[in-house]
């Protein structure tokens, strides 16, 4: 049982890493992606191929997976973001890109097509995941509190005004996309070495949607919100496994309820902090008096 709980936590942390990156891209820069599973897959395959076929060191392979994710993010972002696509058109472009990568993985010799890669070394463990997640959250937090992060937020808020503040919109968006793609790549590498098996059908648009849903439900402009939302979204279906297929209904219902009652997400434009918790109690008291 304990092992099972650790398993759920591990999966949760892998998604936290990917979602934190996506939070920077969607929550802070204001662009939507429906193809982040592709960066996840690229990281997973890069890291797995390096340890599986070439016997690389696990940590080096992880770094290579993150770098590959980031590089592909940069390459796909360069033409699409340069063209200043509207955010909805950009989302459609990422959807197509995600599917294209999956089909590519199904047809390349080195990825062994739909059979996938079985027997990857199982080197991802809870300490590695905890350190990775903490590192990514720390980097993301530092980024958004810097001038580079403020530029991203300015683009989200009003890109015409951002341009009039001397912000290079293209560079700002490309930077966030590259960072989020690298985070997804890192998560993918950890994923591959956790389950010891990957195949293209794991990285569908369902995975991309789940990540974007966690960011939106967690709250735009927040890192802690999407982190909590991810853990909930991974945890609830697991906790409801006894309910069989109804757990997916519960998952959908939860998402709808969050959007109806908290359209700004769990933590829209805020972070979890001691002051906030105190505020909740303060609010509760006021509510009681009234």
């Amino acid at each position: 049982m304990l092992e099972y709980i650790f398993g759920v936590i591990s999966l949760g942390l892998i998604y936290v890493i990917a979602t934190t990156g996506l939070a920077v891209f969607t929550g802070f820069t204001g662009l939507f992606s429906l193809g982040h599973a592709a960066f996840f897959a690229i990281g997973a395959y890069t890291a797995a191929i390096l340890t599986y076929f070439y016997g690389w060191n696990f940590y080096l392979a992880l770094a290579a997976g993150a770098a590959a994710g980031g590089l592909v993010g940069f390459l796909i972002g360069y033409p699409t973001l340069k063209a200043k696509l509207r955010t909805d058109y950009f989302a459609i472009a990422t959807l197509g890109f995600g599917e294209a990568i999956r089909v590519l993985l199904e047809n390349l010799p080195i990825t062994q097509g739909a059979r996938g890669l079985p027997g990857i070394r199982g080197e991802t463990n809870l300490p590695v995941l905890l350190v990775s997640a903490a590192l990514v959250i720390w980097l993301a937090r530092n980024l958004i509190r810097s001038r580079h992060g403020r530029a991203a937020v300015a683009i989200r808020e009003d890109f015409v005004a951002a341009e009039m503040m001397g912000v290079d919109i293209f560079i700002g968006r490309l930077r966030s996309l590259t960072f989020s793609a690298a985070c997804a790549g890192l998560a993918g590498g950890l994923f591959a070495h956790y389950f010891c098996f990957i195949q293209p059908s794991m990285f569908t648009s369902y995975m991309s949607t789940q990540m974007t849903a966690a960011v939106v439900a967690g709250g735009m402009g927040s890192i802690s919100g999407p982190v909590v939302a991810t853990l909930i979204f991974i945890g609830i279906p697991e906790a409801l496994r006894v309910a069989n297929i109804w757990r997916l209904v519960a998952y959908g219902l939860l998402l709808v309820l969050i959007m109806v009652f908290r359209p700004q997400g769990l933590m829209g434009y805020r972070e979890f902090s001691l002051d906030l918790v105190k505020g909740w109690f303060g609010l509760a008291r006021k509510g009681g008096k009234a």
Binding site: V160, G166, V167
Partner: protein, 265 residues
Amino acid sequence: MSAGETNVLELQGVGKRFGGITACKDISFTLAKGQLMGLIGPNGAGKTTAFNLITGVYGLSEGRILLEGAQLSGQRPDRIVRRGVARTFQNIRLFRNLSVLENVVIALDCHEVYPLHASFLRLPFVRRREKGLREEAFAYLEAVGLADKSGARADAMPYGLQRKLEIARALALKPKLLLLDEPAAGMNPEESYDLARLVRRIHDEFHLTTLLIEHHMDVVMALCEKIFVMNFGEKLAEGTAEAIQQDPSVLKAYLGEGFKRAQHI
């Protein structure tokens, strides 16, 4: 003093067409250093289009725009900002979900240079710079009288204060040329006098050259030593406040025959 050195802004035969519609045609004027010029005219005369052309939001169809004698036209808006042109917007464009202070800090970032890896690692000098930026931003809020609102959310403030924040944000870009697009729009006479005094004060205090679009004629006449009048995208008249108020074509097209001379503030 030679004319080339002292002209901050120079428009030479500037024109802009959108398909078959001519929004601006053959607009030429110069703005000397330290001048405060008014740009007036009926709605749809092309005043905001002129601002969009100067700031690079639109590309020019004809003519040239020079900033301190150097070509400005054809550059991207963010580059033009870095060269010293700041503007405010007719329809307020603040970063609504951010605090008043953060709005100004983003403008200050324009001249901030610390590199990306320093941001990621939040190196000690980044921390120090960030603290410095906040203090500096606060000083700009004080300059427009918003110091006590620094923590408020930008869109939670009343309309008039949002306009002041736009001005503070523009000032924080440390511009040579400030373009104000109807800063007194929607204000009552008392508020607009108050705003006119603010514009005059920051113009002097920050050694700016200012171009002002405004429909409150008393504000324009009291502030501007020189006025440029547009109508249907073309120049209608140009001159001192006194001359403009007696110009028959301006009275006919815009001010109205019964226009009374404004009092000085």
